[in-house]
Symmetry: C2
Subunit: 420 residues, 2 copies
């Protein structure tokens, strides 16, 4: 880094890494520097993309990619960076939860259920068909389908927030459908792992029940948030504002969700829904603004830094990747249009596009397939590339479709009851 | 943690750890959970201490100690936790810098210089004498002195902020003296490492010059902050508020300081001094409040979790530890009283007490001694215990002395020109 750093033992370069030897001191230095480079790259990328009127989030992803290990290699995706990224998306989904009123979410419940279920089954069918076409065995084909089915709403949430449309019906349908999607993924992954390892027992059912109980109890508790007085959040002496107590509850909710097998962000989102009903909602929203600004760029930068598009370099693989990507977007689009047709044409298209990014959830499923030996390295690379492409394409298409959906709504002030 | 976590592959438990195998997935889970436990313990400790009218920071330290590896072992001090801690103290010192006007700091310059130099030389003499008394060789004796000389102002800063006295003359003297102290430590550590390794050349001098240039340029730039218009901070499209751009500058300043061999917190403090002169000071202060609330508890919790008092269990070692601790506090106290006698009795006592905690800086020096084979494991344990005791004792004594210093000031409204 600098000629000076060679002269001073690594342990002295910072306040910390005291107990560390030279190697751990260097790891600490690297973790801190990688964080800085990832953050800077995300912001520089966002800046450029905003100035050319493209979604800032794509700029953050590409910024992370450019400095990451698959391009310039300036920053490592350390465990620490991954933890920052995870907290970033936890905070993001918590804040999204703050913007949603539970009654509005319940109102779109049946629609969200339809979007979630249709948009989960169709990609499984399509992915399985592709699997058979490229000649893998049954379970492997299903895994390809499953990797194509799981949605990641981190990126969609960010685009919705950037365009200021989190209060729209289509946004609530997307969020509700994402919960349905996550529960279905939990079930399907449990089933598939059980089948692959040859022991499919009560365990899978227990995990599913725990997931359902978590979401059910969370949603049922949300309306009770209205009864919590502001004083409860300021009861701790350490709390001048509700920010720190709420941060603890959010973090606990995210961890609890992971313990029952759900994604951490579902837990954070549910806590956000609950806090949204309390009198401290605005204070919390205001106080969390800096946390969103500092933590969430790590999520996008790290996601970008993990982009490995090596499968695109081989022409035959590229074809499969593109087929999977198109099928991935189209099946979610059909899920959105069919499931939420009552919202009107453009609104239901936005729902479908919003469910399209597979992001890190698709990668997790692909990695699971690799660890269970259900897919080989080549198929893994294909899945990775397809998942990444759905993630990159969706924000651009959302940016194009959302203004049209808003215009639709303006023509029809109350689209819910029977717009289509 | 939960019976359910055994049923689901670790990779699925979170959004991330996608590229990870099971082992890295488990490390990720552990890092996230350890962060949560450390944060919760810090806040619980602060709560209890505040309710019994003791400094909250001691509660945070003890909370971290209790859940840490030397007590219950509920949380690991992972590399990630250490990075959070480092960012916590960087943010803390940046915010402290925001509270200080550069002209006020220059006004106490000569006093800070005196406090810093006297309070650095006396502990070296005392520590070296103890070293000779316990029969170690020359260089090792000097290292003991050096570990007793380096001050950590993270804890003092927190106490000063908690009591709302960062605007007092004694606070500025402490902050100025801490800069002097850090530069002297840089010089002394360079010299000692050079001597121990047998090559003392231009390198040492280069490091010192770089450190001096960094601080000199930083302090010289600070008044120019007044000329920066608010628009500069909001020029980036990604910036709705100055928080994110300023965060980047702060982080860069901290890294730059480490590259020239200074502590990261000196860099962050200097950036804080510069931002304090700009029109966005209040906005930044306001926006950083949540960041302080979320990051700084990790600094105290991790410092607490690293507390290893095993040397206190042996009676003979205990005597040496107590002698070193008393000498450590008394020498800094003399430095404060002699160096800032013009502030009046209680004010100068507070300065001396404020310089007393050795914290992680003392531990770093002790660890350096261990790595250079200047001290053996027993002496290292002694140093560690003495450093920790100065760190635990200082906040309690500050809490007792500061109200007296404030009463002093009230009797004499303008103590600067010649109070004593």
């Amino acid at each position: 880094m600098s000629f000076l750093t060679d002269l001073v033992p690594a342990e002295l370069l910072s306040v910390f890494s005291a107990s560390a030897g030279g190697e751990e001191g260097a790891a600490f230095e690297n973790a801190l520097l990688s964080l800085f480079i990832l953050f800077l790259a995300a912001k520089a990328g966002e800046e450029i993309f905003r100035r050319i009127h493209q979604p800032g989030v794509i700029g953050e992803l590409l910024g992370g990619f450019i400095v990451g290990p698959f391009a310039l290699g300036l920053a490592d995706v350390t465990l620490t960076a991954t933890v920052f990224a995870e907290l970033g998306v936890i905070i993001l989904l918590f804040v999204v939860g703050l913007e949603v009123r539970i009654d509005d979410l319940f109102a779109v419940g049946p629609m969200a259920l339809a979007v979630g279920i249709i948009g989960f089954i169709l990609p499984i069918i399509a992915g399985t068909a592709v699997g058979f076409a490229i000649g893998v065995d049954n379970l492997s084909a299903v895994l390809i389908g499953l990797a194509l089915a799981a949605t990641s709403i981190g990126i969609t949430s960010r685009v919705l927030a950037e365009l200021g449309v989190l209060d729209r019906a289509f946004a609530r349908v997307i969020l509700g459908a994402a919960i349905v999607d996550d529960i279905l993924a939990l079930l399907a992954i449990g089933l598939l792992s059980g089948l692959a390892e040859g022991d499919l027992g009560v365990d899978t059912i227990l995990v599913l029940i725990a997931g359902l109980v978590f979401v059910g109890v969370g949603l049922a508790l949300a309306p009770l948030g209205r009864r919590l007085p502001r004083e409860i959040f300021l009861w701790p002496k350490f709390a001048d504002t509700p920010v720190v107590p709420v941060f603890i509850v959010m973090f606990a909710g995210a961890l609890l969700a992971t313990f029952v097998g759900l994604a951490a962000i579902i837990g954070a989102f549910v806590v956000g829904l609950i806090i949204a009903e309390t009198p401290v909602r605005e204070e919390v929203e205001h106080g969390f603004r800096s946390l969103v600004g500092i933590f969430t760029p790590f999520f996008f930068a790290v996601t970008g830094a993990n982009i490995d598009l090596s499968a695109l370099l081989d022409f035959e693989l590229l074809i499969v990747v593109l087929v999977l990507t198109v099928l991935g977007v189209v099946t979610k689009l059909v899920g959105g249009i069919v499931g939420s047709f009552r919202l009107g044409k453009w609104n239901s298209i936005v729902v479908g596009l919003g469910m399209s990014p597979r992001g890190e959830v698709g990668i997790v499923v692909a990695a699971l397939g690799l660890s269970l030996a259900l897919v080989d390295n080549e198929t893994y690379a294909i899945l990775l590339a397809a998942v990444i492409l759905t993630t990159l394409v969706a924000p651009v298409m959302l940016q194009w479709a959302i203004p049209r959906a808003r215009r639709d709504e303006r023509h029809d002030p109350d689209p819910e009851p029977g717009a289509a």
